[in-house]
Assembly symmetry: C2
Homo-oligomer: 478 residues x 2
């Protein structure tokens, strides 16, 4: 009872999912609001998660031959306008810089909403021969899109991301890159964020502004809504033509190269919260948790308890585990609640009785499963617990997705399925935008992607009954 | 002769130092210009240097208890105006966002030129009790200052930096932090960038806008001009008062906390170029070189040569050395010139004759000193060469500074000293701004800093002859 009282109350997920989400963002100290509308402070605990995400992804990018660069944050209006579809897509939502100091600028600059135009200008400068290709570039920056409604991590006017931009001699190589990066994103989400994803292609109406095709990974959240967790675009030579990027090939002919871009953002942190969190707070996948194991000393005033806790911490640290001893004067109950709120994957309790038996208690965050383990080989035990938390998280997210995925062959079936709660609808599609729009209008579920793993649910479009060409995942989305 | 021809020509340092500098920036592929006036692309090779700088500094910050956060890039005009001196200092040089999409904003936002105001707003939200103190925050971001004249790395409208912002219960703790961070910067510059620096305090007229006192590290470049390489500011409680940041102390009284901020930027890369570069190009300190050792195979078409080169590379890599084998079909002479231009600290040549003798040639970038070393224990030999390059670089930079530092007791002596070339002038000062301005007017040398290590050159001010209070370093500056 005493312990219950000390738990900082957050709204229950079932009562109000949106409120539960923002409660976690605030009470786990991930973000804080500011007077800059639609923007947020990412606090140390939230930023440390992002640093871990960056560190792992950056390694995966570099292993596959990518290099980091840094482009300016501004784009002159004339440069943004060079690719017709691109400017149409982005101009309505950019922030415009009109003055430098007291002077009005001759040409407005927008704060980059994405950097294709800047990369293209740069490629036009440095790509001349087939020997200059490919260029496999990436940058870690923030971008700005003037959104009307904002939510921490999911949609904010400024957000942190990485944007890869590559340029290749042939279409085949560019398509291969687009797919490779989608696979890296999927692998990252599943292996490190314990978040199962569907890989697929976006429909024509849902493509990135200026792309030939857009691939995406889609994850299903606790509440049955879909989250687009990453995208990878194939541009063909459209941007190259608009920006006059030409190279001399081996036959000494001038030809257009082919391009891609791909990105994931701090939105992934929103995905982590809504995939793994529970009514006690955040639950973090061990690979990106700032603290992987917290040691809570029990009766810490007794001789030898803190010494032992610190000794264990040193052993875990040496084994590469991110560990913290909380020796503050708060009660153990308060500490339990605090680190549950913060989603620390594993808690270790050590008290005088445990020390006597040369053991400690390990508690897994996700299910509060307790085990008593020997202090001999404690690092291996903690590692095993972390792996166990990770596989539990992945499995229950997958179970949630499977439970909430419905195969439907009619609009009625879709609506009936969605009465049980939001989720993924698998249904066939004729390929017409008209039907895509109508499904959304009649059910609320938009097309999420045309999955690479196709199934044949029926031969007919779920909407018009005409011959189907593809199975599509449909759902309500963040 | 043949080799000389293949060296990409850069302007000689003695002929035109400014041109030599920009030639290196371009030809070592550090930066490329863009259509965004005053902004640049930092290319992979340049960005990799910055990543190494970041990695080392971030480690030093975290070891001393600092945490990373991320603030918005925008500051509402009313927030910027809260601290009087601060807004006066920065408002004339900020970029203003006035429109979001098609709509005019109700209040203009500036793109952060620095983030004191945002941190203060955040601290007012999260600091309430002495238990909340200190907060030791830092962020790695880019900032914008609308400069009229720009040069790559040294002065650009957007630049990358880190800005530390800390808040403490007492003035003593804040002063201690200000000094601690200056010492970390100095240690970093000397140990990792091989760049000797003078630590000191800025005069009143040269303080950061809103600071009680500003400390700086000053380095002397090849051409005798000074570069301010990092600053650390003590704010007292001025910002706290302006932003109404109050905390309850142990006696349950409401009091104002004390603050600091400190920063270094991509300007350090400019400092590296101008401290160590020569007429063959860049010379990089080993600690931040993207490639520490390049292996150039000789007669690489002969059997076994490339295999041996790759074998050596694997051994160096395993020992933690950043190594590259250049097995392209360019000639060895071209490769020598290319990696000299790029400032790779150590070159390793391996050909059939070397392999026969189980040895290779190591050439140090800074002085082209050659040594023949056994392939047994090659990693240790390369490490020793890297250390030797590092200490050579530090020593010759120090020698340059000492040779160009003059103790003067009159304006005439200063002018005579500067006739031999720019450099540091050590001279006494009465403390009056009038004299500070006059020295600059009459000699071109402004006050750089009041060094912590004081010397007593004379009892009188170099300008007015009245009693001196401090020795000051004077010089022309970037």
């Amino acid at each position: 009872m005493a312990k219950e009282k000390m738990v900082e109350s957050i709204t229950s997920m079932d009562e109000d999912f949106a409120k539960w989400y923002t409660d976690i963002c605030k009470k786990a100290e991930l973000v804080e609001y500011t007077s800059v509308k639609g923007c947020m402070v990412i606090r140390p605990y939230g930023y440390a998660i992002w640093e871990n995400i960056q560190h792992i992804l950056d390694g995966l990018f570099k292993e596959t031959g990518h290099e980091n660069v840094c482009m300016p944050m501004f784009i002159p209006e004339s440069l943004l306008q060079k690719e017709k579809d691109h400017v149409e897509g982005f101009a309505p939502e950019v922030a415009w810089v009109t003055h430098g100091g007291a002077e009005k600028l001759e040409e407005r600059l927008c704060v980059r909403p994405t950097s294709e135009t800047l990369f293209c200008e740069h490629y036009a400068n440095i790509v001349h021969s087939y020997r200059d290709l490919p260029k496999l570039y990436n940058q870690w920056v923030s971008v700005v899109r003037w959104e009307k409604t904002t939510r921490p991590f999911l949609r904010s006017r400024e957000f942190l991301w990485q944007e890869g931009h590559t340029i290749h001699a042939t279409a085949e190589q560019a398509v291969e890159e687009t797919e490779k990066m989608l696979n890296i994103y999927a692998e990252f989400c599943e292996k490190y964020l314990c978040m199962p994803v569907i890989k697929g292609r976006k429909t024509e109406s849902d493509k990135f502004a200026g792309a030939v095709s857009t691939y995406a990974i889609e994850a299903l959240m606790h509440d049955g809504k879909a989250l687009q967790a990453g995208t990878s675009h194939y541009f063909g030579d459209g941007f190259a033509k608009a920006f006059e990027i030409l190279y001399t090939d081996k036959e000494n002919k001038k030809v257009y190269p082919h391009q891609t871009s791909w990105g994931v953002s701090t939105r992934l942190i929103g995905g982590i919260i809504m995939t793994h969190g529970d009514n006690n707070g955040l639950v973090l996948p061990p690979a990106v948790a700032p603290i992987q194991a917290v040691i809570v000393p029990i009766q810490q005033f007794k001789e030898g308890v803190l010494d032992k806790a610190n000794e264990v911490a040193a052993e875990l640290k040496a084994a590469g585990i991110r560990v913290k001893v909380d020796d503050s004067d708060n009660s153990p109950g308060w500490k339990f609640a605090e680190y549950e709120m913060k989603g620390v994957p594993v808690r270790i309790e050590i008290g005088p009785k445990d020390i006597e038996k040369n053991e400690c208690v390990i508690v897994k965050r996700n299910n509060r499963e307790k085990s008593f383990v020997s202090l001999d080989g404690i690092a291996d035990s903690v590692k095993a617990s972390l792996e166990s938390v990770a596989s539990d998280l992945y499995n229950s997210a997958l179970e949630n997705r499977e439970r909430r995925t419905y195969s439907c062959t009619s609009i009625d079936e879709i609506n009936k399925a969605l009465e049980q709660g939001d989720g993924f609808i698998k249904a066939m599609w004729c390929g017409k935008e008209e039907c895509e729009d109508k499904v959304k209008e009649l059910t609320g579920a938009g097309s999420r992607c045309i999955p690479f793993d196709q199934e044949n649910i029926s031969d007919k479009c779920v909407c018009c009954g005409e011959p189907a060409v593809k199975m599509v995942y449909w759902g309500k989305a963040y």
